[in-house]
Symmetry: C2
């Protein structure tokens, strides 16, 4: 059990969550150049001391954001190729559309100026590639996918189709689009799995 | 003919080009919050006076970036559905991978804090949607596309497939990936047009 600096008073996980959510929002909205403990404290509605009690500096706070909110996607074996891909597409969509979605995009864009940015981004992208490869192998084994399928192109069209959908959503519609994300994931996967050309 | 403030000396278009390229790079790399005439002058290797001779302030300079480098994509009627889509995918890829590619991504991410950002982004996205619709209509007319095809999903998978490819390219590989963009565009379109599922 992790105990805060105030003697005998355990850390409140609700405050941890509020701070990392605020940090994800500040980072996503303002970028690394304007990311500060001060800005995060203001958005979270806590004192700066509450943040420094938990993280020594803004670099450590950003690592906590990536650890808690960009943990990557998981391979979910539903027993069906289509549903495996829908589960993958849903996770990618939610990573981009959730309140910390801006943080992923910001990491992609500013990766070179962010401390350990490339490692965090690689872990996120690697989790997608690993899940996609596992899904494709099961699909080939079941005879549902052509054995020569390109995992990269499958991932680029599904993950990119999710990304484009999120990026072209104005922020005023974000909540509505996020609420419909599960259905969009199905449409996207069905589109990629079906031939679009006329028979 | 536009003539600069220095009497009798016409503006040098090579300098215009050098300044807007530098401005695109500063905006793409640093974002609107750190975009300044000073930073652009340093990167372009010109005096600030050369910039103020052409644009009254940084807002006007950014508009020049969008006008000269984010003019959008064009519908190219090649006579073939596949080649029309390849031409579209190539333009989108180059928009993201060229030296000003970061500027498009930055506009998408920071649209709300950028002066007239939404108008510029809408014009860019609208040009893609208009081109995609025209290509799809010709494809349906020729009997090559199912009449019930979703233009949005076609565009999201092709444009998103281009975007994901660009975003997952580390900057050290950007020149190499840009050089192979035309071939990637063909692979992406062939992937989307073909069914990936086993017959």
């Amino acid at each position: 059990m992790s105990v805060g600096a105030t003697v005998g008073r355990p850390r409140d996980p609700e405050v941890d969550e509020r701070i990392t959510r605020a940090a994800a929002e500040v980072f996503g909205g303002e970028g690394w150049a304007r990311f500060s403990v001060d800005a995060v404290a203001r958005r979270a509605g806590v004192g700066k001391a509450s943040i420094y009690l938990r993280w020594p500096n803004k670099e450590a706070l950003l690592v906590a954001v990536f650890a808690s909110r960009l943990s990557g996607v998981r391979d979910i074996d539903t027993g069906s190729l289509r549903d495996d891909l829908v589960a993958l597409a849903r996770q990618v969509l939610h990573a981009f559309l959730d309140e910390s979605g801006g943080a992923v995009l910001r990491l992609m864009l500013e990766v070179e100026s962010i401390p350990a940015g490339q490692e965090h981004l690689d872990r996120f992208l690697q989790s997608q590639a690993t899940a996609a490869r596992a899904i494709v192998h099961r699909g080939i084994d079941r005879g549902q996918l052509r054995p020569d399928i390109s995992v990269t192109l499958l991932l680029n069209t599904i993950s990119g189709g999710a990304l484009n959908h999120a990026l072209t959503t104005p922020s005023r519609s974000r909540a509505k689009v996020a609420a419909n994300a599960d259905r969009y994931a199905e449409e996207l996967v069905d589109f990629v799995l079906a031939s679009v050309t006329a028979p």
